[in-house]
Each structure stands twice: as C-alpha cells, then as structure tokens.
C-alpha cells in the first residue's frame, strides 16, 4: 500500500499478537480489508460490484462442491443425476442446483457492471493496467468455466452448445479440426468431453480464485480508483476500508442477494433455456441453438460475418469474436487521454453510453432467432463495437478537451463548501452570511 498514512496493524488482543508474531495473517487481513487499506472517500455505488463478484464466486464454489457430490459424469447418468436424483431426492438439492445456475448468471451480471464501471472511469489506465488485465484473465476463465458448467447436465443445449463452441476451432485451416478433436477427445461431444469438462469445471474456479488474489494484490499497490479519477493526495481524501466500506458493501450486498434470492426461488428457470430439460440427443438438432445469455453479444458478433471475403465467413466470425475480448487488453494504450474519469470527458461519455446500448443490442440479437433484419442490425452493432474501441476511442482521446478536474477528492466532495469542511466537533469561525440564516 503506497499511502504513508495507512495505519500499521496493532493487535488489540494478546491472542492476536501471539498469532501475528508467528504468522502475520491478521496483519495481512488488516492491510487488505481493514484500517490498513485507505480508500478514496468519494466512491459511488458502482464501486460495490467487485466485492459482489467475490461474493458470487464464493457462492459458486460452495454450491458447486456440494453439487459435485451428487453428480454422475457419464453420458448415460448425467441428465438423471441432475434432474431426478438431485432435484427430487437429495435434501434441498433443488436449492443447490438453482442457486448454482442463477449464481452463474449473477456472477456474470455483477462482473459486467464491474467491467463497464472500469471502462467509464478509466480504471484500465496507469497505474492500474495490470489490475485491468488480470481482471480480463478472470473474465476469460469465467467464460470457460461457465460454458463447461452448462454442458454438465447433458441436456439438448448442453450437447449442442458444446458442439457449436468447440466447432469454433475447426474454422482455422489445417490445425483447426485436429485441435477440436483433441479438445473433445472424439469427433463429437461424448463421454470423453463430458468427463474432461467436469474435471476442468471443478478446477477453473480455484484458478479464478488465485487470479482474484493477484487482481486484489495489484489493486492494493496504487489503491482504488475513484469517480473523479483524481489521485489521492492526503489522508483527508480517504477512509479506512473497515468500517466504512465494509458497511457500505454490506448493505448493498444484502440488497443484491435479495434480488438473487427472488430469481432463484421464484423464477429459477427464467434465465435458462427449456431445451436443456430434454436429454441430449446427437440425432436431433434444436431449432435454434443459443448459448447462455452472458455469451449472447459475442455470439451475435460471430454470426454477423456472413460473407466469404478472402477468408471463410466462419473464420472471420471466430477471429472477430476472440479479438473482441482480446482488444480490451490493449485499452491502456488505445485510450491515451490523461483524464481517467468519463465524468470529465464530455465526448468520451457520449460514446461510452453508445457502447453500452450497442452491447445490449448485440446481446438481444445474439439470443434471438435469426432473420434477415436481425442479422442486419447485428452487423451494424458489431461494426460499431470494433470501431468504438479501435478507431473512435483513440481519436476521442487525441482530440477531446476534457472538463476542468477538481483539485482534490475532498474538494469534489465538498462542492465549494470548503469552509464547512472542519472535522466534527471543531468550532468554525462564524461568517455573516451563515449567521443571518435560520
């Protein structure tokens, strides 16, 4: 932690001192989420979503470990182990399953908000480039984990989703088909694919947890960013993480968990697809194959390439889809504006909201059945996605005149009421204008 006023850990209880002298774990926790981590005092609620992502990762790991105890990783047994034994005979098995299904959706939901918060407030800029990149690594791991988890119940969408997504690799000439067969362990999804997906689906969340530790570690070097994007200057600009942000995260997490509980208990299948309640059948292709909602924008980009121009359309689609995420790694070098926060960048701000709308449109197009008009809208939206990041953003950052930044975080919070900013209990000099009032 680079703030000189971060308080060193002082054990209050002799037992804690005893532990701290032998294993400085209490010191580590105190420095990470206690008084040892000063946080800008002006964070808004968009800054709550990182902690929420951590909460949902924990929920997924805990429910997932118990679910694995009841799962049969075989093509004959997987569907019934989930839909018969777990849902009917295991005590509260339905709760575990629905909590895990919807937990994945909520994990992605809060992560998307977290990513867009980073995009708006320039959290990818120096000195937080590695925080951003580690976050993208987490996101890629989440996508792999989410995809493989959806295959496990071995329903129709599981099977055909696996077929389509591993089929991406066969778009590459020469090496593509061997890679696909190697990944699946066969010519089509079957027992070999199911078993290895189960194994990796159990492994990857722990890899995610490890990268989350690196993500937080890298964050705690420069400290959290803030809505003004102005660097922290002195102690007045910060508050210790505990109790201030634990309290703020606490109540907000309660509110989001309430929303999660309502979906889990009262509309558990709303975010799923009915076809996944039909056992996998390699001989019957569903009318339209769609992945889970959190992949829809990328699925729309994939399907938007419909012309064999030099390369086959499918290869264009696959390249564009992979690149649509990879380009985010270069963001710190694409957007060179020295101003971090979008609040002080009038032109950037407009394009940012256009991007949000664009991604929502891509999401809708990716989830809906195909027709010529939807494909056309998807093609325009996909083109905007690439132009936004690779053409518009560098131009905006070069030509935009940002608004004047506040001198400090404290000033931005005070809105010109600096005279009243005396610490609690301290007497302020009375001024005429105030004395005449009331």
């Amino acid at each position: 932690m680079s703030f000189s006023w971060a308080r060193p850990y002082e054990p209050k209880h002799p037992a804690m001192r005893w532990i701290d002298e032998r294993l400085p774990l209490p010191r580590l926790v105190y420095g990470a989420i206690g008084g040892g981590y000063p946080v800008p005092r002006n964070l808004n609620y968009w800054w709550n979503f990182g902690v929420l992502a951590g909460i949902f990762l924990t929920i997924q790991i805990v429910t997932g470990i118990v679910l694995a105890m009841h799962f049969t990783a075989s093509t004959d047994g997987a569907f019934n182990s989930v839909n018969q034994m777990l849902m009917r005979d295991v005590n509260a098995g339905w709760l575990l399953r629905y909590a895990h299904m919807n937990g994945a959706s909520f994990f992605f939901l809060v992560t998307y908000i977290h990513i867009f918060r980073g995009l708006y407030y320039g959290s990818y800029k120096a000195p937080r480039e590695l925080v951003w990149m580690l976050g993208l690594v987490i996101y890629l791991l989440m996508m792999a984990t989410g995809f493989m988890g959806y295959v496990l119940p071995w329903g129709q969408m599981s099977y055909w989703g696996a077929q389509v997504i591993t089929g991406f690799f066969s778009a590459f000439p020469l090496v593509g088909e061997p890679i696909r067969i190697w990944l699946l362990g066969g010519y089509a999804p079957d027992q070999a694919a199911l078993t290895r997906f189960f194994s990796l689906h159990y492994l990857l969340p722990f890899v995610i947890a490890a990268v989350v530790i690196l993500h937080i570690w890298a964050l705690h070097i420069p400290g959290s960013s803030n809505p003004t994007g102005v660097d922290v200057k002195d102690e007045k600009d910060t508050l210790p993480f505990h109790p201030f942000y634990t309290a703020k995260d606490g109540w907000f997490a309660g509110a989001v968990l309430l929303f999660y509980a309502l979906v889990t208990y009262f509309a558990p299948d709303y975010l799923g697809h009915p076809d996944n309640y039909i056992p996998a059948n390699p001989l019957a292709t569903p009318a339209h194959i769609v992945p889970e909602w959190y992949f829809w924008p990328f699925y729309a980009i994939l399907r938007s390439f419909t012309v064999d121009f030099i390369l086959p359309a499918k290869l264009w689609g696959v390249l564009a889809m992979f690149f649509s995420i990879l380009l985010l790694f270069f963001l710190s070098w694409i957007d060179k504006s020295p101003v971090r926060s979008g609040s002080y960048r009038p032109v950037f701000k407009r394009f940012f909201w256009l991007l949000v709308i664009d991604v929502i449109i891509l999401g809708y197009i990716g989830g809906a059945p195909i027709n010529a008009w939807r494909v056309a809208v998807g093609q325009i939206a996909a083109a905007y996605y690439f132009l936004h990041f690779l053409v518009i953003l560098p131009l905006v950052s070069a030509f935009e005149t940002p608004l004047p930044l506040p001198k400090s975080i404290t000033e931005s919070v005070l809105h010109g009421e600096a005279a009243e900013a005396a610490p609690a209990g301290q007497k302020r000099p009375r001024r005429g204008s105030v004395a005449t009032a009331g």
């Binding site: 509980a261 009262f266 938007s304 083109a383 009032a437 009331g438």
Partner: protein, 313 residues
Amino acid sequence: MRFILGFIGAVFAGILLISLFSNLATYFTNPPAPLAADEFHKEPKALHLSSDGVFGKFDKRQLQRGFQVYSEVCSACHSLSLVAFRDLAKLGYNEAEIKKIASDWKTQVPSINPDTGEASTRKALPSDVFPSPFANEVAARAANNNALPPDLSLITKAREGGAAYVYSLLTGYANQAGYKNEKGEELLKKFPDAKTPPNLHYNPYFANLNLAMPPPLTSDGQVSYGDGTKPTVDQMARDVAAFLVWTGEPTLESRHAAGLAVAIFLLIATILAYFAYQQVWHEAKRVVRPTGALDPKNQAKIRRAKGKAGVAG
C-alpha cells in the same frame, strides 16, 4: 500500436459492412418465402393454476384428477421415467393406495426370473419409477408411425410456455379444412402445400402445425372423476397440465415457502445493514457537512441557492 489496432478494427468493420450489403441484397433480390408455421402458429392460451405465483401451492385434488387422466389416457404411450410411485404420497395417496396403484399398473417392470435367470417382468413396487409403455425406442416408434412419444416427467419445463402449452396443445386440435388465423386468412388458400400429411394431425399450437399425436382427449366424460368434477375435455386438459407441473417440479411448494422466508430474512438484514451503514458514515459525512440536510441553516442555504437559480419549491 494504435495504428495497427485501428487497421484491424477497420478491417473487421469493413467485412461486416460487406456482409451487411450482401445480406440486404439477398433479402431484397430473393426475399424469404413466408412460412405457414410462422403465420399460423399460435401462442399458448392463458392457463391459471393454483401453483402459479409467489404463494402458489398445488391443488391436490386437481393433481389426483390429472394423475387419473395420465394413467387412463397418456400413459398408453408416454413414459414418466423420473417419477416413482412412492412420490404419489405427495398427492395425498396413502401407502396402501400407492402399493395398489403400483401393483395394478398396466405395464410391468422388466426383471429376471429368479429361478432361471431369463428375462421376465414383475409387478411394480412403490419404489419403482413409472414403467415405460414401450420396451425401447424402436418399439415406441414402431407403434406410433415412427414418431417417439416424449417422456412427460419434465415436459412442462422443456417446452416454451410450460403448462399453458400442454393445455393448449391438448385442446387445440382443429380441422384444417377452412381453418383461419386471427387475421382471417385461410390456411389452405394461402399455403396450399401446407396440407397436413397423412397420419399427422393439425394443431396450430404445435411449432410446425402438424403433430404426430392423435387427439388424446376426444370426448367429455372420457375419464370419470371420483370427486364430482365434470370431466369435460377442457377440464381434463387443465388437470393433466397441472399434474405435469407437479411431475416437473415436485419441490415447488417447499421452494416457494423457503423463498418467502429467505426474502423476508434478507429484507430485514438489508434494512438493518443500511442503518448500520448510515451510522458508520454519519461521522465521516459530518467532516464534509457538520450538520444534516434538515438543519435550518442548510435549509436556508438550499432555499437561497434555489431562489438564485430560479428553481421553484
């Protein structure tokens, strides 16, 4: 680096524009033909069951009637392979009744002869799942013009529209000759090729309009209910749809009850946590503004500022 990335972006956008033009060109030069299935397919009719909604609970008498329809009509072709006879206890049947239902079931359970080891069958026990009416898929297709009657355990979860779809399908068979949609267009005049092939049955609630299943509920009184309910076709369809909601989700009631308790708990916890947050931040916020928004001094200031800006209120 920015030039290389910008170039890549322009290439992708360019290919997308070429795709867009070719897509639109195809659409206008060779517009897709309208499909009978698009224009004559109907969304499911509304169906309200007591299990709907946040406080939804099963109507056990209706489930028993629905089970009766399943056992007397549907079970001739459709299996229920995820449900066991013992599960019927949740419908209000007692142990003796369940034993009798299982041992009287028209299909027996595959077994082996304990003396010779040869394949044979035995009477079902409460611990058995409902035996399939056909020995295997080939036998099922052979008996049904090569169509496979789906297992019904999860049917209300596996179809868009759920129970309403099942109810609509069962009551939605129509005579194709002279059939008109809501717009008054006559199917066979608009799409003469869409005539239902032999051995299929016209049903606008089915995705491609032609269903292999012959109408299963054909006349009122096909099943005689013990509880005095009038067994109209509509009533039987409703009852069996309700029963199939139960087979798909037998834990629905405990889910609703637990959900309510969890929601109330989280609501109270969140409110308490919010007050704790206010309490914790009170101190920090005072550094910014020594008194609250309700302080007369601040009120006066707000009024003055509003007056200056010409804002009312």
